[in-house]
């Protein structure tokens, strides 16, 4: 009876992956030579002409930027709400709204906020006599602007995970620390943060996988620009395949993304086994 789940896994996971690898090794660009074996030509072309290293760098900047800020803001929100009683559940529910909104809806909302002519952000800055800016149109600020949007959208997930982790810290530990004369900030630093480590690590790995592959914002808000400033891997795969009809290059990018994610997933499973066994 393991044959049926295996067959489904084969059809839905192994076959698409194998086809992607096959396509990355053959010519597939709506040409007369489609189907011809090309070896690693797509990979070498990506390195030589496709700006692969730039795209990887942008993707890592995007991912790390989002994770650092999301975890920090999520942690602060979790700690603050942990100290509140009745109001906490209402506030927590309201703070979850950005996380449950579809990415396309978030992109549309923030595109109007960032609009350089009539957007809310420039209106507020103007009313405070601060300089306005074309946030999404300047290569120097476009990626940071997208990171800000994703932080707004994603920090509630961190808040939820870390809040659950906070609840698992025994009250006696807090009381013991207080008895030893540790103030609030010292308790956060020496008690809460170390005891949240397992949750933090696992959440980081999960969020890394999701953020690395996130497509919506770059597609809707900036179309990968300006001048490639927000071309992350997921967008590059889409553009190569469906805009430039370079299915071979799109598949090569997909395979490279899969390899990167495999490493991240392997680290996740190893960490979850180690931390799950070591957590008290």
């Amino acid at each position: 009876m393991a044959a049926v789940p295996a067959a489904i896994a084969l059809a839905m996971v192994v076959y698409p992956l194998a086809f992607n690898i096959w396509q990355s090794l053959h010519v597939e660009r709506l040409s007369k030579n489609d189907g011809q074996f090309a070896g690693l030509q797509s990979y070498s072309q990506l390195l030589q002409f496709g700006g692969l290293l730039d795209t990887f760098r942008t993707t890592l900047l995007w991912t790390v930027g989002c994770l650092v800020l999301q975890s920090l803001i999520g942690f602060i929100a979790a700690v603050v709400l942990d100290g509140m009683s009745r109001a906490a559940s209402i506030i927590r529910a309201l703070l979850l709204v950005p996380w449950v909104m579809p990415g396309v809806a978030v992109s549309a909302v923030w595109s109007t906020i960032y609009d350089p002519i009539s957007g809310l952000l420039n209106s507020v800055l103007g009313s405070l006599h601060l300089p306005t800016h074309d946030w999404l149109g300047d290569p120097k600020t476009a990626l940071a602007s997208l990171v800000l949007v994703n932080v707004w959208k994603g920090f509630p997930f961190w808040m939820l995970m870390l809040a659950a982790g906070l609840k698992s810290i025994p009250q006696e530990v807090h009381e013991a620390a207080a008895l030893d004369g540790a103030g609030y900030l010292k308790r956060v630093r020496f008690v809460i943060v170390p005891m949240l480590r397992p949750v933090w690590v696992l959440t980081t790995l999960l969020a890394f996988i999701w953020t690395f592959n996130y497509f919506d914002l770059a597609y809707v808000m900036t179309n990968g620009g300006p001048n490639g400033a927000t071309t992350i891997l997921a967008f590059d795969i889409y553009q190569s395949s469906f805009v430039f009809n370079r299915f071979d290059q799109g598949s090569a990018l997909s395979v490279l993304t899969f390899l990167t994610m495999s490493i991240a997933i392997a680290v996740y499973f190893r960490a979850s086994r180690r931390l799950g066994g070591g957590a008290s």
Binding site: V4, S31, D134, G137, P139, R246
Partner: protein, 443 residues
């Protein structure tokens, strides 16, 4: 538990087997024919036209169905934003509609990939297709390797749009009090500076897609100056940096941005924002195609051609030069794997009569025929006069190549770096030539 799992597994397996069987049966385009050969044939026709303009196509289809009762046509309207993706995905799966609109940049690639049926015989059959009535350049777009793969549906061009109230506000009027429209680049720049002093934007250009620089922003000015992006000979090499007209056109836009006469957000300026600024008297001049008129009517129903805005020839580099513009347009193709190729070609031939194409072109494009604009309703509407002026000298900004999307995207990237970010025009165009010649056209 084991019994329930086994039963559930069997159900899943049956569902999977059933869906696999259905998938096997559904391959290929629409159409069904009984063994007697006389039953109704069903074709699928796909278009990118919005709901507002699809009515004319449905009328043509209804007329064809009346004259051919054994052929039924289902209409599938795909949104423009993912029209090409939808079609390519279907074609790669061996499916797709029987007859469909083809955006001209895709003709080469889709023909090379074997998606388009060879229509050479149809195109050369004078009893079915009146070849001599069509603009030769548009027929050429549908030709790949000497074979005709698509037939022209429409064409277009961009002209100069000006806000009448703003021209009068800054005193740019002739002796009759009508707006004194710039005819040269230098006049346009001087006028833009006046509008800036009056507190409005002098000029705006589209930059919201990979094709915007080539077709909407740089392209029209480049055409008036005889510029090229790719060489028009068989080698089709990128020569933008060596083409004086192209360098001059990019420099013109760069100078306008440096002069501060353009609105913010020019890195992603779309048609709707431009039209809103234009209709609210915040923008004095822009380039645009005939589709701007219905768009403006929707945004501002009281903002009228003739009283509130006008159109004119695209300004030229030097006085005395011929005006010109970029043009494009859609083509009609037949699926190479259509289950009913004879019926599909019969409909294509009917669709491609000059009379039907004339009816289709009213809402935002032009008929692809030589005398199309000299007939009603175009001939009696002064709105089309500048379009008639520019069309004879208009053409594609990029000659048809299979990698048109990549070439256009590369031009967008480098041109915008020069125009919006102030980088050296010659350096950016040289980088464009180098990238396209080594990594796009060379692959």
């Amino acid at each position: 538990m084991q019994y329930t799992l086994r039963r559930g597994s069997v159900a899943v397996a049956m569902l999977a087997a059933g869906s696999l069987a259905l998938a096997a049966c559904s391959g290929g385009s629409g159409g069904s024919e009984s063994s007697t050969g006389s039953a109704t044939v069903t074709l699928t026709y796909m278009t990118s036209s919005p709901e507002a303009t699809i009515g004319a196509e449905k009328d043509v289809i209804a007329t064809f169905e009346q004259a051919n009762p054994t052929i039924k046509i289902n209409v599938d309207a795909g949104p423009l934003s993912n029209y090409d993706t939808q079609l390519v995905t279907a074609f790669k799966g061996g499916n797709g509609p029987d007859i469909f609109w083809v955006n001209h940049p895709n003709v080469q690639a889709w023909a090379n990939a074997g998606y388009l049926a060879d229509l050479t015989a149809l195109a050369n059959d004078s009893s079915q297709f009146q070849k001599d009535k069509f603009i030769p350049g548009l027929l050429q777009i549908g030709t790949v390797g000497g074979k005709q793969y698509t037939l022209p549906v429409n064409t277009d061009a961009r002209v100069f749009w000006y806000n009448t109230a703003l021209f009068k506000k800054v005193g740019l009027v002739d002796s009759s009090g009508n707006p004194k429209v710039p005819t040269t680049w230098a006049e346009m720049q001087a006028d833009a500076a006046l509008f800036k002093k009056a507190g409005v934007y002098g000029f705006a250009y589209r930059s919201d897609s990979d094709y915007a620089m080539a077709y909407e922003a740089v392209g029209p000015f480049m055409k008036t100056a005889g510029g090229e992006i790719l060489s028009s000979d068989a080698t089709a090499q990128a020569i933008a940096s060596q083409s004086a007209g192209t360098v001059a056109a990019v420099t013109l836009l760069q100078d306008l941005v440096k002069a501060g006469v353009t609105p913010p957000g020019e890195s992603k300026m779309n048609e709707t924002t431009m039209n809103k600024l234009f209709a609210s008297d915040e923008l004095a001049m822009m380039l645009g195609g005939p589709w701007e008129r219905p768009s403006l009517e929707q945004i501002a129903p009281d903002f009228k051609f003739g009283t509130d805005y006008g159109v004119a020839d695209v300004p030229v580099q030097q006085a005395g030069d011929k005006t010109a513009s970029t043009s494009g347009g859609w083509q009609l193709g037949v699926n190479a794997k259509s289950a009913n190729p004879a019926a599909a070609e019969k409909f294509a031939a009917f669709f491609e009569t000059p009379e039907n194409l004339q009816k289709l072109a009213v809402a935002g494009s032009f008929p692809p025929t030589i005398d199309g604009l000299s007939q009603a309703p175009f001939s009696s509407d002064p709105f089309y006069i500048p379009f008639m002026d520019v069309l004879p000298n208009s053409g594609l900004p990029i000659p048809p190549v299979a990698q048109m999307a990549q070439v256009s995207a590369a031009f967008e990237k480098y041109a915008m770096a020069a125009i919006n970010d102030g980088k050296s025009v010659s350096d950016q165009l040289s980088a464009f030539d180098n990238e396209v010649n080594s990594s796009v056209l060379g692959q």
